[in-house]
Amino acid sequence: VCTSRFWFNYRHVANTLSVYRSVKRLGIPDSHIVLMLADDMACNPRNPKPATVFSHKNMELNVYGDDVEVDYRSYEVTVENFLRVLTGRIPPSTPRSKRLLSDDRSNILIYMTGHGGNGFLKFQDSEEITNVELADAFEQMWQKRRYNELLFIIDTCQGASMYERFYSPNIMALASSQVGEDSLSHQPDLGIGVHLMDRYTFYVLEFLEEIHPASQTNMNDLFQVCPKSLCVSTPGHRTDLFQRDPQKVLITDFFGSVRKVEITSETLSLQRDVAGSESKLPEEELATEPLKYAEQLPVAQIIHQKPKQKDWHPPGGFILGLWALIIMVFFKTYGIKHMKHVF
């Protein structure tokens, strides 16, 4: 989730896209990823290289790629939508790509970046999500059995405050800085004119580039990723709610999707589907007279179109109240016995 708007927050979009790219490279398909970007940097008119988002200066690595699918864009990234996606309380007409279709055997990775403070994360410069709300959302997820294990990574200023309040089991959290510290950005690119990445995510990306789907690296290596000498802030982590030992948890449990493939050397012969489904198709009815296309600009027909009569609606609310008042005043002044004159 990237929560920042405006061109100077380019690095937050680059952060999110680099994690997205690593996760896709390690095997998770787009149908299992919900990507939320609060602003469009790639096709922004201020971007000197359209349709690209770079993470290294000198424009080495384009993390936007050619087959990105963003599920929540621009104004859709709000606290309400984020919490609805997590808890599953979405309106029924939401398409599948915008839902988190997880069950109690799913491991979920949540990565958030943006501007934050002690106990809150800012969404699009107009609203905030607090650590209490986030902890309650995770508890709702736990009670509805929407996750097996959850890894929460946050890269903002004072990020550790966001995981202080978690109380649901099986959650592991990482943050780029402690309370009272700011997370800093890595390097600007003079061609683009803004900072391209944040330090913590930059080193996490470097670490993830060495992981391949079969690697056995575990979480303890991820905790060591950005020491204070490189990151200037002190990354923190929280594992007390997690039931397994972090030493035994593989990185690919959250970042990758490893499928077991069985290779067989025998050939299977498939039967030809003979006259099965095709003959059940209903016979097509042909029109009796030729169909025709509509006229695009039927001037005569348009000019003589009668204006549609407005549907009559019974008067409601204010008008009824006004009439009731008038009638009441009338009968008050003139007495009830005059009613017979009315009828």
Partner: protein, 581 residues
């Protein structure tokens, strides 16, 4: 009698003999893919490339359970069947087509996202189906189409007649919505490419790489679904899916200041092979001579054929490269079409299109304003009617009594006006007019509006950017220079057969004007915080000091003389109960 019957029986058996395979071939639902690329050099030195991919399926999606999808994408086919859609047109556009300098577009779309749909008469709740449709499409195309609701949907009464087969046009089955703020980027192109039968791996779609396509002045991708005649007799219905992508490469940024273009220069790729599922795959290059001179444009490698057609009322010549002909890839594995100008073109000879329009906001300040539309008819002697459709959001309150239409200094009364006023937070304004444009004239349409103050929660996160007003739509039947003959749809190129033509004397064109950006009076969102800080400071400093001054009492304190002995003595005295020293 018996012999004849026996012979008949034998014949029947022979006909049914070869078995179920033969009967299946006759009843199979055939689908076909045609793909086409049209390269048009524009008068300003830019080049426009229009891709069209047409999948035609001889099945009736409305009736019958269709379960086997081959070329027609299943996502769209199920959508049409489930929601009772008769026609669907969705366009996502970045940039603006400059009709004045570039000429009439083959198919234009307004900036942002545009969706218009005709529903079947069997649909009972059209609004509910419309809402579901926009949500499903937002998931398929990764666009924020779920923001389409009653505040930006209108029901046009005269424009947007169906482009496919129709038997009756009750305009209550039509819905039209525009989202001018919508951004188009690679995430919209990716699912669009996935709908193509060959994806982006073979055929013309290999040229569609996002880094080059979005580095352009105009990028528009669209999906059109409509029912068409299956054959010339038009007794059966086929469904057609057209995916079009128009991109205009800029002379200065992509062309590096030179007018010579080639496929490699435009797309950084060349064509290497054809899509095996396509029945036809062609590249057309517009080499029409201007002003009846000899050809100025040279194409290489030499084309497989030259095609002449009357397109948009004018005679045009095209060099055709048929990718399915074996001779094309004989010499080299890749095809890189190059366009070179034989002699430098006179920049003063820019042809002016017959119909073009312009729109802008007039006025000053944050209270009132004026929307002005200028429509130009440059035909020397023919007048023709044009329908103008304007959709204005509810927070710009239009005053219809200030609507003026002036042509050549005199007032021009429209033959038909349909105005539906807005309802706050429910419905936008809709203004549709049929205006006669006299020959060689400029028509100016002005209407004044007042800006409303929104509730503070209704402002978007970046309110100082402004609010967009969607493009207005001009539909016209422009008289053609040369009469067009009725052509067989299957034989003619795809770019000529999008709009069904009724007679050859005029051609139908739909133009869009510029979208407008209007500033609304914006409150100061940091005001509550500032007020609280200031008030608390004032209260703490002023009232607090005053309160202290009034209620604080002063008492004298004995200077204490320290010393351990004295303290010890005081302790003993306390134990004894005697007052201390």
């Amino acid at each position: 009698g018996g012999m004849a019957a026996a012979v008949l029986l034998l014949l029947l058996l022979a006909a049914a003999g070869p078995g179920p395979g033969r009967a299946e071939a006759g009843r199979e639902r055939r689908d076909a893919l045609r793909e086409e690329l049209l390269l048009t050099p524009l008068p300003t030195g830019d080049v426009a490339a229009t891709f069209q991919f047409r999948t035609r399926w001889d099945a009736d999606l409305q009736r019958g359970a269709v379960s086997h999808y081959r070329l027609f994408p299943k996502a769209l086919g199920r959508l049409v069947a489930a929601l009772g859609v008769r026609e669907l047109h969705l366009a996502l556009t970045q940039g603006f087509w400059r009709t004045r300098y570039w000429g009439q577009p083959p198919l234009q779309a307004p900036a942002g996202a545009e969706l218009w749909v005709w529903f079947q008469p069997t649909v009972t709740d059209v609004d509910k189906a419309w809402k579901e449709l926009s949500n499903i499409l937002s998931g398929i195309f990764c666009a924020s189409l779920n923001f389409i609701d009653s505040t930006n949907t209108v029901i046009p009464t005269a424009s947007f007649k169906p482009l496919g087969l129709a038997n009756g046009t009750d305009h209550h089955l039509l819905r039209y919505a525009v989202l001018p703020r919508e951004v188009v980027c690679t995430e919209n192109l990716t699912p669009w490419k996935k709908l193509l039968p060959c994806g982006s791996k073979a055929g013309l779609a290999v040229l569609l790489k996002a880094e080059r396509l979005f580095h352009s002045s105009y990028h528009s991708q669209a999906v059109h679904i409509r029912p068409i005649c299956r054959d010339a007799s038009c007794l059966a219905v086929s469904w057609e899916l057209r995916q079009t992508l128009t991109v205009v490469f800029d002379f200065f940024s992509s062309g590096q200041g030179k007018k010579d273009w080639s496929l490699f220069k435009m797309f950084s790729r060349t064509l290497t092979d054809t899509c095996p599922l396509a029945s036809q795959s062609k590249v057309y290059v517009d080499i029409s001579p201007k002003n009846k001179e000899k050809e100025l444009l040279e194409v290489s490698p030499p084309p497989t054929s030259v095609h002449e057609a009357v397109v948009q009322g004018d005679k045009k010549t095209y060099a055709v490269y048929d990718l399915l002909s074996p001779s094309l890839f004989n010499t080299s594995r890749s095809l890189n079409v190059q366009l070179k100008w034989k002699r430098p073109q006179d920049s003063s000879e820019m042809p002016i299109p017959t119909l073009h329009a312009q729109r802008y906001v007039g006025g000053y300040g944050l209270q009132t304003g004026e929307i002005c539309t200028l429509i130009y008819n440059t035909h020397p002697y023919r007048a023709f009617p044009v329908i103008l459709l304007e959709t204005v959001p509810w927070y710009l309150r239009l005053y219809v009594h200030t609507l003026t239409i002036i042509t050549k200094g005199k007032e021009n009364k429209p033959s038909y006006i349909h105005y539906q006023p807005a309802q706050d937070r429910t419905r936008p304004h809709l203004l549709e007019m049929l205006i006669q444009l006299p020959a060689n004239s400029v028509t100016k349409i002005t209407i004044q509006f007042e800006r409303a103050l929104l509730k503070w929660t209704e402002y978007p996160p970046d309110p100082n950017h402004g609010f967009y007003v969607g493009s207005s739509v001009l539909s016209a039947l422009v008289p053609s220079v040369i009469a067009m003959k009725d052509m067989d749809v299957e034989q003619s190129p795809l770019f000529t057969s999008l709009f069904p033509s009724s007679d050859g004397s005029s051609y139908f064109v739909r133009l869009y004007t510029e979208p407008l950006l209007v500033n609304l009076p914006t409150p100061d969102f940091s005001m509550p915080y500032n007020v609280i800080c200031l008030t608390c400071t004032v209260v703490a400093v002023c009232y607090g000091s005053f309160y202290n001054l009034l209620t604080r009492t002063f008492h004298v304190e004995e200077p204490s003389r320290g010393g351990l002995a004295k303290r010890l003595a005081n302790v003993i005295r306390k134990l004894r109960g005697v007052p201390p020293l």
